[in-house]
């Protein structure tokens, strides 16, 4: 089975990257690939609870991620140093994730080989 790691590094509302990454992952699901999502740098903000962009006339993104396993996503990995630098802990996130350090992230990306950046 083809494998791919999605590398999310942008904050959710300052650009279209997070929303486009989310859309792409939903589409990938139909190809029966082994897909994992990794959240690094400002990408970790995508998973923060209680996002409410109503006053910005935008769609909330965080609550959508927990449903992605139904679209074939096999893992959610969060870079712990990125989380800590932002004053966040796993309890602040919308779902249970696996935490990885620098080496763990590099190993994961090497294992999956194909890296899709958003």
């Amino acid at each position: 089975m083809k494998k791919a790691a999605v590398l999310m590094r942008k904050a959710p509302y300052g650009s279209v990257y997070t929303a486009e990454g989310f859309r792409a992952v939903m589409g990938i699901g139909i190809f029966e690939m082994d897909v994992v999502l990794t959240f690094v740098d400002d990408g970790v903000y995508a998973l923060v609870k209680n996002q409410d962009p109503e006053k910005l006339d935008m769609q909330a993104l965080g609550e959508g991620f927990p449903m992605l396993p139904e679209f074939g996503v096999n893992g959610f990995y969060v870079h712990q140093p990125s989380l800590e630098a932002r004053g966040l802990s796993p309890e602040d996130l919308v779902m249970d994730v696996q935490l990885v350090d620098d080496a763990g992230l590099a190993e994961l990306l090497a294992e999956y080989k194909t890296v899709l950046p958003f």
Binding site: D42, Y45, V48, P53, K55, R86, L88
Partner: protein, 97 residues
Amino acid sequence: MLYTVNKSPLMTNNLETCLAVAPEGEPILLYEDGVYATTEGSHPAEQIKAALKRHPVYALEADLEARGIQHLVEGVQVIDYDGFVGLVEAHDVVPWI
């Protein structure tokens, strides 16, 4: 002059250079991804705490709510869109974008 920052403090050095340049007493307004700097416990929170000793610091409410930012550095003043307009009317603006 009103200095405004709209980029993430951990992905650009905009906040850092803005705070280095802004003279003491001038107001700082954070909006869009700039508001992430106000998260208590984050690395940029230390920059904000230092800035609060020299400047009034404002953050736009709609951008805080959108991003789920719950725990703000004490002393940061949350303003709505009317407050934003009021600041822009009262000052010439240095957009540090």
